[in-house]
């Protein structure tokens, strides 16, 4: 079984649009939406939830007011400034480490579980999908990503699927690392802007750091063809495969408004054909990995 992660560094370059199109084009793939704090893939693939799991991310400290003498030790030792001046726990700041529970001489502080989100196993028209929703403002998105990927693996084995397509979050931090570790290849979707190029370079460094084969796709390439040429030659110099160039077209937004993938919405459009040839090149490169 192979795993492919779609990432970008910079947000809004078209990861989800491309992942959704790939989900339609792939035969028998499991799709995993690992952008757990702002997931959007479900708006194009319309999954029907089969199973819901509660996700316990970090714990939360609670101070027993009856026992607390406001000695201030917990405030002093908390490195996340999560104990307020009136000795309440700031639930946004608290990372659930438990230092306050061991430092309190009166055993007035305990750690409690909190539900930080939900993981889902779902069915779409094109196969199974693992996804999740982190409660707004919660920490530990990396751990939830790991749960989504585990669900995707179980689904893939059960359904005898040979590919997992992972829609990654933007950035290069904790949830992105959790989305790329151990996958066969990472497809970086970039755009021909100064920011796109800068963020592409960091995303490629990340893939190298975790020893994941890199592919690059330039989305909206015709917005600045000079920059597209720069990206293509940069990739050439570094031996990185450019698997596709996709043009800018308002039809992509129209498809999104219609709640459809670009392949379903406008199969004959140039963009759909470019996405299809990108998919074919990704598949053949993936099979060589």
């Amino acid at each position: 079984m192979k795993q492919l992660t779609i990432l970008s560094g910079k947000g809004g370059t078209g990861k989800t649009t491309i992942t959704a199109a790939f989900a339609v084009l792939a035969k028998n793939a499991v799709v995993a939406d690992c952008d757990v704090d702002a997931p959007d893939l479900h708006m194009l693939l319309h999954p029907e939830v089969v199973e819901t799991q509660e996700f316990e991310g970090s714990k939360l400290a609670v101070i027993d007011e009856e026992k607390c003498t406001e000695c201030g030790l917990c405030r002093e030792k908390c490195r996340f400034d999560a104990v307020t001046e009136d000795f309440k726990i700031d639930y946004i700041g608290c990372e659930g480490c438990g230092v306050c529970t061991i430092i309190c001489p009166l055993e007035a502080v305990t750690l409690t579980e909190r539900i930080s989100g939900y993981a889902y196993v779902s069915k779409t028209e094109y196969g199974f999908m693992a996804h999740a929703l982190l409660s707004p403002g919660e920490a530990n998105s990396g751990k939830l990503v790991a749960l989504v990927r585990q669900n995707a693996r179980i689904l893939a084995e059960r359904e005898h699927s040979d590919l997992i397509i992972i829609d990654g979050p933007p950035g290069i931090g904790c949830p992105v690392i959790a989305s790329v570790t151990g996958v066969n290849a990472g497809l970086v979707v970039t755009e021909p802007t100064m920011s796109g190029i800068h963020d592409l370079e960091r995303a490629l460094q990340l893939l190298r750091h975790f020893d994941v084969a890199p592919f690059v796709c330039v989305n909206m390439y015709d917005v600045n063809e000079d920059n597209t040429d720069k990206i293509v030659s940069f990739c050439g110099e570094h031996g990185i495969k450019v698997v596709g160039k996709i043009s800018f077209n308002p039809v992509v937004t129209e498809a999104m408004v219609a709640g459809k993938t670009i392949i379903e919405h406008s199969p004959e459009n140039m963009v759909s054909r470019e996405v299809e040839s990108t998919w074919k090149r990704v598949l053949s490169a993936l099979n060589k990995e």
Partner: protein, 277 residues
Amino acid sequence: MIVAVASGKGGTGKTTVAANMALAIKNVQLLDCDVEEPNVHLLLKPKMNETKPVYVLTPQVNEEICDHCGECARFCEYNALFVGPDKVLVFRELCHSCGGCIIICPKHAISEKKQQIGTVRIGTATGMEVIYGELKVGEAMSVPVIREVKKQIDKEKNVIVDSPPGTSCPVIETVKGSDFCVLVTEPTPFGLHDLKITVQVLNDMRIPFGVVINRAGIGDKKVYEYCEENSIPILLEIPYQRKIAELYSKGVPFSLEMPEWKEKFETLFDEIKEACL
């Protein structure tokens, strides 16, 4: 005054709004807290004059004193320590630097060492101070770098803080303590969906906010309807124009080439200032 610029969805134009607003007003400090992928400096091209390393503390076990009792591993909520029969393994990338293992160790065998995970860079551009953080590639924890960037805040200035995308811990850390938050969105289903999640976070944090709609004209009207239904002020609309997209692609803040926009961004800031009074 501290104004954060955020959005649930990535690529909606946070950095564009932050940079153009900063260029339209005086006495500015512009902070880029998107330390995973900082882009403000690409638009403003500041002259950098100072670099500060960002460290986190991670445990270091003295194997000569340690009797491998396992207390530290049992305590650690992040599974960052594994105690074998004769060796302790520290998984640095899982550690949150809470310091609990040092307190719990009955043998006092654990100390902490500094580990660099990123850098804060300070510079100047057209009269403003530009500060950005940069997480080292391969490091997972961006929050400590964001904290260090925010330590540079000078409250006497008009502080504009560019946030990372999303709604989880790096965003919370960035917008915490702001007087106002500008939410940049685009009028599409993805934009609306992610806007709603961000609104929930800001309501929880009791930070006042307003919306800037970028690429107005594409997509549909649902973002407008949502804002109206929930009495969320729409502070500014930036139309989708090829010229704006092209200038952005070249790394040029568009108000520099389209001067009529300078005034609009100045008005935007004035309105925010009024809303904060």
